[in-house]
Symmetry: C2
Subunit: 522 residues, 2 copies
């Protein structure tokens, strides 16, 4: 969206009926009070002004699509219109958007999606039988045999069943119940509805959600939108971004003074931090959550994205079940998505939540709640079917599917190493290994003069840095302040998704930008 145009238009009268928290985002700083007051005189008709909208929406921030990204979009338009810049294109390293960065879709997935969308394709002899079989199974599960009909709100039954079987295979046979699977629009859809469900004051205290710092801003944005309490716990940067139980305890103890903590969010593999948690770390987290009566939210959307030799993905469910009682009876919500992994089908919006040990009464309420959303898109459900029910050995698509999957993951592995090692070779940078997921989150030491200049500019120092990087190189990253970081430290998140040649170019540009930046603020 062209924010410049929006800002140039005449803003709103101020009704002064109710004041939400002040908004400090760069977007809002574009309007001065004087300008607003002038507008009041001009326009008396409007009922809705910045002063009487949902204060939670004013507070929330979503850095992955924040002002930097908006500016990147404007720059792209300017380049299109022939404006001269020191670069030819914007490199969007701000968001885990695989296909946007040139990753090709998995053939099998698109064959199935094509078949269910356009059934005459069943007559195409070039489309393999297993793709047709999957598509037939999906259509048989749709009312009227069409993906154009509403599915059950929790998704098409056969896909929920396959998702449960997938989880059971993944977890070495530990049972999964298809009735605990709720298909959703990406993982976000599931996370939001489960957070909404647990949004209930306890003894007059706001319900609190423990989230890692740094975290994926979906959590902070949703907590703000739902007026819940954000309880940050710092990840241990010195220990490959692992979870330190003492820090969890500190954070919880402090929060308990004013809020009622209910949920512990763990992102594994980590976003933006790229760590893959060890089994013993997971066990400690589970013990902590059990002791403290917290519902575990395991954000496991990167479960296929594990690169470092020696790292292995352990699902919270498997570990919890293997630990036996009382842990195996704990409430757990695990989230999965079609947007990540090797498939990277972000735009289609597919995902699921597995809800474990939830009271049947509560599950009934959850199902009632999602029924008002009608259903997640059947297109996303179809993609999810391919993920949970991929071609099997002996089926015609098996080899190509496995090859395409391995190629994507292997290339990501190489890029993960390249990004971390390049950053570690730049003066002032330190970067943990990218064990998994799709991001590096290096720390950068900024010179005091740069910090001072940022302050004068009214920006956080990392945001100041990121804006200069964008304007001078076209590289769009997200400053660490969008995810949270220990005060006085500066980080940013970059994806590892640019294709190998582009990534090398990007890292080169980055390095020389940084050198110039250091010179400038020496």
């Amino acid at each position: 969206v062209n924010i410049r145009l929006a800002a140039a238009a005449v803003p709103e009268q101020q009704q002064q009926q109710q004041h939400g928290p002040a908004v400090e985002s760069p977007i809002n700083q574009q309007h001065s009070r004087t300008f607003l007051t002038m507008a009041c005189v001009q326009q008396q008709q409007r009922c809705v002004s910045i002063d009487n909208i949902n204060p939670a929406i004013k507070t929330m921030e979503y850095a992955v699509r924040g002002p930097l990204v908006i500016r990147a979009g404007v720059i792209e338009k300017e380049l299109e219109q022939g404006e001269k810049k020191p670069f030819k294109e914007v490199i969007r390293a701000n968001i885990g958007d695989c296909h946007a960065m040139g990753q090709p879709p998995i053939t099998f997935i698109r064959q199935v999606l094509g078949l269910v969308s356009y059934p005459p394709l069943f007559n195409d002899p070039n489309i393999p039988a297993d793709a047709k079989k999957r598509a037939r199974g999906i259509l048989d599960g749709c009312k009227g045999g069409s993906v154009g009909s509403y599915s059950d709100s929790a998704g098409i039954e056969v896909i929920r069943r396959h998702a449960a079987e997938y989880i059971q295979r993944r977890d070495g046979g530990i049972p999964a119940d298809w009735q605990n699977i709720i298909l959703s629009a990406g993982a976000s859809g599931g996370i939001k509805v489960l957070m909404a469900l647990l949004r209930c004051p306890i003894d007059g205290k706001k319900p609190g959600v423990m989230i890692p710092i740094p975290q994926y801003p979906l959590y902070s944005a949703t907590i703000a939108e739902f007026d819940m309490e954000q309880i940050g716990y710092y990840l241990d940067e010195a220990n490959k971004w692992g979870l330190d139980i003492a820090e969890l305890e500190r954070s919880l103890k402090e929060a308990r003074k004013t809020t009622a903590p209910r949920i512990l969010v763990v992102i594994n593999p980590g976003n933006p931090t790229g760590q893959v948690l060890s089994r013993s770390n997971i066990e400690d987290i589970i013990k902590f959550a059990q002791r403290e009566r917290l519902v575990l939210f395991a954000d496991e959307v990167y479960q296929d994205n594990v690169y470092e030799a020696g790292s292995k993905f352990h699902s919270f469910k498997k570990v919890m079940m293997e630990m036996g009682e009382p842990y195996s009876k704990m409430e757990l919500c695990s989230f999965m998505s079609c947007s990540k992994g090797y498939m990277g089908e972000c735009g289609i919006r597919g995902g699921y939540a597995e809800i474990v040990n939830l009271c049947p009464d509560v599950r009934t309420m959850l199902l009632k709640c999602i029924s008002a959303q009608l259903c997640p898109t059947t297109a996303g459900q179809a993609v999810m079917e391919c993920v949970v029910n991929p071609p099997q050995k002996g089926e015609p698509s098996y080899e190509q599917f496995e090859k395409e999957k391995k190629d994507v993951l292997e290339s990501l592995r190489v890029r993960a190493e390249l990004v971390a090692s390049t950053f570690n070779s730049i003066e002032g940078f330190s970067c943990n290994p990218v064990q998994g997921a799709m991001y590096a989150f290096p720390q950068v030491r900024l010179p005091p003069k740069a910090i001072e200049a940022a302050k004068k500019d009214g920006k956080a120092a990392d945001t100041f840095y990121a804006f200069q990087l964008l304007e001078e190189t076209g590289i769009c990253i997200v400053p660490g302040s969008g995810f949270g970081q220990r005060p006085g430290t500066y980080h940013f998140r970059t994806t590892i998704l640019p294709q190998p040649e582009k990534l090398k170019e990007m890292l080169g540009l980055f390095k020389s930008f940084h050198e110039k930046f250091l010179q400038k603020y020496k």
Copy 2:
């Protein structure tokens, strides 16, 4: 979902920490307190119980997918398993789900959806050039040329532009700005986010939303979920379900004592009531909203579904703009969907909201808010592109597209007439003409003995009636209490969507059921 299984499982300990409003839905009545207390002894581990979840979720009801529909699903399973019933199949007349009831998809739409999902189809010489052109336009608007990449949160720019052009054509040239178009997952996605935006207490009073009674339960469910205040105004059944300004005034005046009314929802053509508002009625509504400083929410998802001779769809925007100032400066949100009309692509989830005269500051906040939802599914966006940019005269698909569209709408017109006239021929029924949309909402006079029997059974009398209808005929309708009705009157909503032969059969079954019902409770 199999609620029977859920109810049979062991329920939850009662933490008694916080009590939401009592839940009286039939689902919850299945658990007695005694049973719950026993369960408490068995299970001490759970953190989440029915007593400490979001009370708004407990309160909300969504009748279109409520207990009757759940029971219908169970009956379908029982039939599959060979259980004997007085009927062979469930007729799902509860939900406007066109394809589920046998309506075929529009060829052009599915060709475009197939192409963007599975680009090798571009090589298929059987697919016409205009479908390929639309698909190419969509893919060119996607980052990396793939519908697998995230779009802007407000949707793919080229589709937003085409939606604005479509609105401008529809409204006889009145300008529409593409930056005011927000693509969404069905209309629901847009309605929910705009209600969320306006959720702000005013002078310490809860924000109120005026909705018609009867209404589409998305509104009541969302109002409950957002803890806003529902302000019902009765539609005028004696006057073809029109809006009576005196009733709007009465309702508003009463609500103002305790709440701060902000939004006026009007559904046109009506759901569940099927009316098409006259231009003069719309003008009066606009004057009322302007006088009372309400934001208009025009739910216009049935804009293509107008059947009655003499009825015509007038968009609120067109009327408002033609009325000139101050009306042409009013804030209006209009909602559209791919799920209805002639396309009926419910499962894909496409829709848009046009936001008119919204303060730029507020629009900026809206865009920030939707950014945390990433993007509406690109599949739904692609379907919307076909709706707003259909084949033009001279393009190869034009004739087939127009024929398919006309056939669907003409058949719906015939069914609309058939349903209303059949109900009017049954003793005790009266049904307004189905001027538009996809539903009839007849009133039925129930015998006092039936009302008494329902009371004993703990059900509303219309629900009691609907359950018997379901068990004896397999017809699934939604009782009027799910939409709201004047106390002491009984209605139900049925879709007009069963295919013509099936619909005739259904109406015959209905008639003979009703006669037996009257005999039984004479």
